[in-house]
């Protein structure tokens, strides 16, 4: 059983999806999905423990050994990302039953859970697999499920947003596929481990350059790196709240994982960082992303849009850490993967609670909510503080390591800019606080009750995690450090 765990992590959600289709009742489907996701989370935790204790796990799918068969290769990096994806998915799911009650028509509830499980299976698959082509397959599974999930949004613009995302996502996936094809042409293998050994021999060919270029551009589209972020705000804003919460916390993170995997494991740092001025380009784009997206966030009237743009800015931080190209920089990126997932899932879920009660996420509707929904608003404030990077929250931990990495490298202007970027976050978070706590409720809105426990419990689990992991950083820092070190070939 324990040996089969890697396969189980994908198969559990993947097979639950069609099974879920038979459950016609919303509540049953919800319970079933929670259990499936919860089990996946348990599998991820066990995998992480095993990897931390005894090193990389190699699993041959169906007994076919690599490079002919598909290999699942779990090292510290993907075990860490697996944990993020599966645990956020599970916690967010807890609120799903309450949330979709108002946002999705009754007859589509089962469909929602099926798509949710498919999306989860796809994301897990992308992370866990050790086969480059397999990455594309799972990426398409998760993306197609995500497009449909977004299209389920009650706002008619959701359909439009999903369509835009579909086009962009498909371009990205195609680029990745082209890149993989070019690599296959040059090496004759699709296995990542194999690729990493064979690529150096042919590294100085234009085909390999082109392969890397296609993959990077494709992945950056999925990452929503500025200026390729344009699909994201609308998709996040018009999707059902739960979908936004889970996508914001997991899908871009998985894309960042892919960026790291392709850059460090497959092409190798000596190739990736020396053939092109990738470092410079990424630092500039990352910083531009931080400032442009944060500034845009300040002017948003819809809080979902606001946090969506903030997500783009936060991705900028991850890219900056990545492009520093040192162990500490990579560690900062990995920490921010974890920490940003915690912040954004908490924030979007809390927004879901607001949507549930007042049916809108317009900033003008937030006026006076501080007294009417005290627990929900407190959660948003706590998440916002974490976003800014206030000490004792997770946001502080990742910013700390990012600044540390920049300073270690002597890039002090970057450190200064990163800190200035936090000030912009302060501005847009403050707009919400101002509306909620310093303004009277708009006339014509009736009494608003506090969100139901179905929301409050998962939201506060995530907020508590935001604070807990801000103080006790052992888990996140230890694993992120070990993962970063192993990617740099330093034995931990």
């Amino acid at each position: 059983m324990l040996i089969q765990l890697p396969a189980l992590a994908v198969i559990l959600p993947l097979l639950s999806a069609p099974l879920c289709l038979f459950l016609r009742r919303s509540l049953l489907a919800w319970l079933f999905t929670v259990i499936a996701s919860g089990l996946t989370m348990l599998v991820s935790i066990t995998l992480l423990q095993q990897v931390m204790a005894s090193g990389t796990i190699v699993y041959e799918m169906g007994g076919w050994s690599a490079p002919w068969g598909i290999e699942y290769r779990i090292d510290k990096l993907n075990a860490y990302v697996l944990l993020i994806v599966s645990s956020i998915s599970t916690v967010v799911l807890l609120a799903a039953h309450t949330s979709i009650e108002k946002e999705i028509p009754q007859d589509r509830h089962t469909l929602f859970y099926v798509l949710y499980l498919l999306s989860l299976a796809g994301l897990i698959g992308v992370v866990i697999t050790g086969d480059a082509f397999n990455v594309f397959v799972f990426l398409e599974i998760s993306s197609l499920a995500a497009y449909s999930l977004i299209a389920l949004g009650e706002d008619r613009r959701a359909l439009w947003a999903a369509y835009q995302y579909l086009i962009m996502g498909t371009i990205g996936a195609t680029f990745i596929l082209i890149g993989i094809g070019l690599m296959y042409q040059m090496t004759g293998t699709l296995n990542m481990d194999d690729l990493s050994r064979r690529l150096p021999e042919v590294a100085q060919t234009r085909t390999v350059f082109a392969a890397y270029a296609f993959i990077i551009v494709g992945v950056c589209l999925k990452v929503a790196l500025f200026p390729l972020h344009r699909w994201l705000p609308n998709a996040y804003a018009y999707a059902p709240s739960v979908v936004t919460a889970v996508l914001a916390a997991t899908s871009t993170k998985v894309a960042v994982y892919l960026l790291i995997r392709f850059t460090f494991s497959i092409f190798g740092i000596s190739f990736s960082f020396t053939t092109v001025p990738l470092q410079t380009i990424f630092v500039i784009l990352g910083l531009l992303g931080i400032f442009a997206a944060s500034t845009t966030a300040i002017f948003q009237k819809n809080v979902k849009h606001l946090f969506a743009y903030s997500s783009v800015a936060q991705i900028g931080y991850m890219i900056v850490g990545f492009s520093i190209g040192t162990t500490t920089g990579l560690m900062a990126t990995l920490l921010h993967l974890f920490n940003h997932a915690l912040m954004k899932s908490a924030l979007f879920l809390a927004l879901g609670a607001v949507m549930y009660r007042i049916g809108s996420a317009q900033l003008s509707q937030f006026q006076g909510l501080g007294r009417q929904m005290p627990f929900t608003m407190a959660a948003i404030v706590a998440g916002g503080l974490s976003l800014i990077g206030v000490p004792l929250t997770v946001g502080f931990v990742s910013k700390w390591y990012l600044v540390l990495a920049a300073l270690e490298n002597g890039w002090w202007p970057v450190a200064v800019l990163v800190l200035l970027g936090s000030l912009l976050a302060l501005v847009y978070v403050w707009r919400i606080v101002e509306a909620a706590y310093f303004n009277e409720p708009p006339a014509g809105r009736g009494a608003v009750e506090e969100a139901p426990l179905g929301f409050l419990i998962p939201v506060w689990v995530l907020v508590t995690a935001n604070i807990y992991f801000g103080m006790d950083t052992r888990l996140s820092v230890q694993v992120a450090q070990a993962a970063a070190q192993s990617l740099f070939g330093v034995s931990p």
Binding site: I167, M168, A213, N234, V276
Partner: protein
């Protein structure tokens, strides 16, 4: 044999009790007791503590590690013992003097204040010193506020700010010192490096160096009758002690001290408030000690320390007699007083004893210590300084020796007919007066306590003759000036000192500065807000409108273009490499 062991055990145990502890505990008890019981306890504390101190041998008695540093809250040597003794005497006298006071706040503050002074002189490291330094400030300010007038409140506030500032400078200096030397031990520091200067400034503020002296003349006369007595004993003497430990032989101190002896005389002569006159003469006396510390020879240090010892007693006596006058008449201005000798004969006599001591009449305590400093100055070639000190001695005699008793008890008859003060006050003054004469007649007792053995004898013909001549001519000058009507009359007036800078000029300057700044600031801000609005308007055009550059809802086309640009740029860059 057994009994010796027991005594040893007993002393071993009591060794651990630093002298500030009985005072702090006593303050706690005094806070909850009332009446005779409180009086008895308060009198007992300095007695018990002094007996204990008498048995304590020299050495380090309490030490513990704090981070990387050794803290020594209790260190005993000859220098600290000398101040320890006189502080006990001062506390004892002041407590007796204030036995009639029913104000719990004052009594507790007085005990805490005396304890803090003791803590400071037995502190073996700079951090402990800093703690007691600030304690001195915070406890003493209540003795000023206890008068409960608006004037005293404001004076207390100014006093507190300056004292705390001194403490903060001391702390910064101590931190620098620790960084430079890796130790916090409170020993010789010297004027080297930033630490040395910072600590020097901190000590200087507390020591009432010129231009930093106004807290003293500002606040002391505003304190309560008993508060001023106890205030005069500790703060400046702790500073003198600290200078004697950390900066002996620093030449700068000679000049600072000489300035301190001379400039207060002019203020003291024209000042009307007799307690303020005494405050000025306090600075003048401290100046003698500072000169002694600055010269730094064994004789000079002895002179500084013994003069501190005597000054605590005779200055206390003078403040007590003036306090008695204030207590009985409610007036303190020389122009309102006079002729009191008829009804306050005992106070008059005691005041004259104090005046004779401060003027350094032979056979009074001031003589045996002040002459040491002056001899040391002459021996070390500071002739001009010696002349300044001589002038200062004459001045002291003038304002403290003659002016105080003359205007309070003689001069024109003010018509006040009040009796002598309560017995406890008289007793306290009597003790001080006896000590003044005792030390003056038999200086060997005092000399045996001094840090150095110099075999100095004050009663040789030169000293006695020189001093008597000086006093005689000074008295003559006073009489002549007074008869000719040329002596500055006692008037209701406010004399401006350096404090004018921070009590008048500074606030006025600050206020006008702020007024202009606010006007300017308002204009700037309006302009800035206008620009900001324009900027925001422009930005929101870019970012916010649905068709804006970065937020269009149909991004697919432009994004596909971006992807193409991205890819092309990337390929171009990698191919040209």
């Amino acid at each position: 044999m057994e009994s010796i062991v027991q005594i040893q055990v007993a002393t071993m145990w009591t060794l651990e009790v630093p002298p500030f502890l009985p005072f702090f505990i006593g303050a706690l008890i005094a806070a909850v007791t009332r009446g005779t019981l409180r009086g008895a306890i308060m009198v007992a504390i300095p007695v018990v503590s002094a007996l204990h101190l008498w048995m304590v041998p020299e050495g380090v008695h309490l030490q513990f590690a704090f981070f990387d540093y050794q803290l020594t809250p209790y260190r005993v040597d000859k220098l600290s013992l000398m101040f320890g003794y006189v502080f006990h005497i001062a506390a004892f006298i002041a407590i007796i003097y204030s036995l009639h006071v029913r104000d719990t706040l004052q009594q507790v503050a007085a005990l805490m204040y005396a304890g803090s002074g003791l803590g400071a002189v037995f502190a073996g490291d700079l951090l402990t010193l800093f703690v007691f330094w600030e304690f001195l400030a915070f406890t003493s300010v209540f003795l000023i506020w206890a008068r409960r007038t608006r004037r005293s409140y404001q004076a207390g506030m100014r006093y507190l700010i300056i004292q705390v500032l001194s403490g903060v400078i001391l702390l910064i200096g101590a931190l620098f010192y620790a960084a430079e030397n890796g130790t916090l031990e409170f020993g010789f520091i010297g004027l080297t490096g930033i630490a040395g200067w910072l600590i020097f400034i901190a000590f200087g503020i507390k020591c009432a160096f010129p231009f930093a002296h106004n807290w003293l003349t500002d606040a002391y006369p505003e304190a309560t009758v008993t508060g001023t007595v106890i205030l005069s004993a500790f703060t400046t003497k702790v500073a003198v002690y600290s200078l004697a430990r950390a900066y002996p032989g620093t030449e700068l101190l000679v000049y600072i001290g000489a300035a301190m002896t001379c400039f207060p005389i002019f203020f003291a002569v024209i000042e009307n408030d007799l307690r303020r006159v005494l405050a000025y003469s306090l600075i003048n006396q401290v100046g003698f000690m500072v000169v002694g510390v600055g010269i730094g020879t064994a004789l000079a240090i002895n002179g500084a320390v013994s003069h501190a010892f005597n000054d605590v007693i005779f200055k206390g006596l003078l403040f007590m007699t003036m306090g008695a006058v204030l207590h009985m008449t409610g007036r303190m201005n020389g122009s309102d007083l006079g002729g009191l000798y008829k009804t306050m004969p005992k106070t008059t006599v005691l005041c004259i004893v104090g005046a004779a001591s401060i003027s350094a009449f032979p056979l009074f305590s001031g003589f045996v210590s002040k002459s040491m400093v002056m001899s040391a100055a002459l021996e070390n070639g500071y002739d001009w300084i010696w002349l300044m000190l001589l002038f200062a001695s004459a001045g002291v005699f003038h304002h403290a020796g003659i002016k105080i008793p003359y205007f309070a008890f003689f001069a024109h008859d003010s018509g006040l007919r009040v009796s002598d003060p309560p017995n406890n006050m008289l007793l306290a003054m009597l003790i001080a007066a006896v000590l003044c004469i005792g030390i003056g007649v038999y200086p060997a007792a005092l000399y045996s306590l001094l840090p150095y053995d110099t075999g100095y004898n004050p009663y040789d013909a030169t000293h006695v003759l020189a001093q008597t001549q000086l006093l005689f001519f000074s008295a003559l000058a006073f009489v002549w000036l007074n008869l000719k009507g040329m002596y500055p009359p006692e008037l209701h007036s406010t004399n401006l000192d350096v404090e004018w800078f921070y009590r008048r000029l500074f606030p006025v300057a600050i206020q006008s500065l702020f007024a202009t700044t606010w006007k300017l600031d308002g204009a700037l801000r309006r302009a800035f807000v206008l620009r900001l609005h324009q900027c925001l308007h422009y930005l929101s055009g870019i970012y916010h409108v649905p068709t804006g550059l970065l937020t269009s809802s149909r991004p697919a086309g432009s994004m596909a273009m971006w992807v193409a640009i991205f890819l092309a740029g990337y390929l171009f860059l990698s191919f040209i490499n």
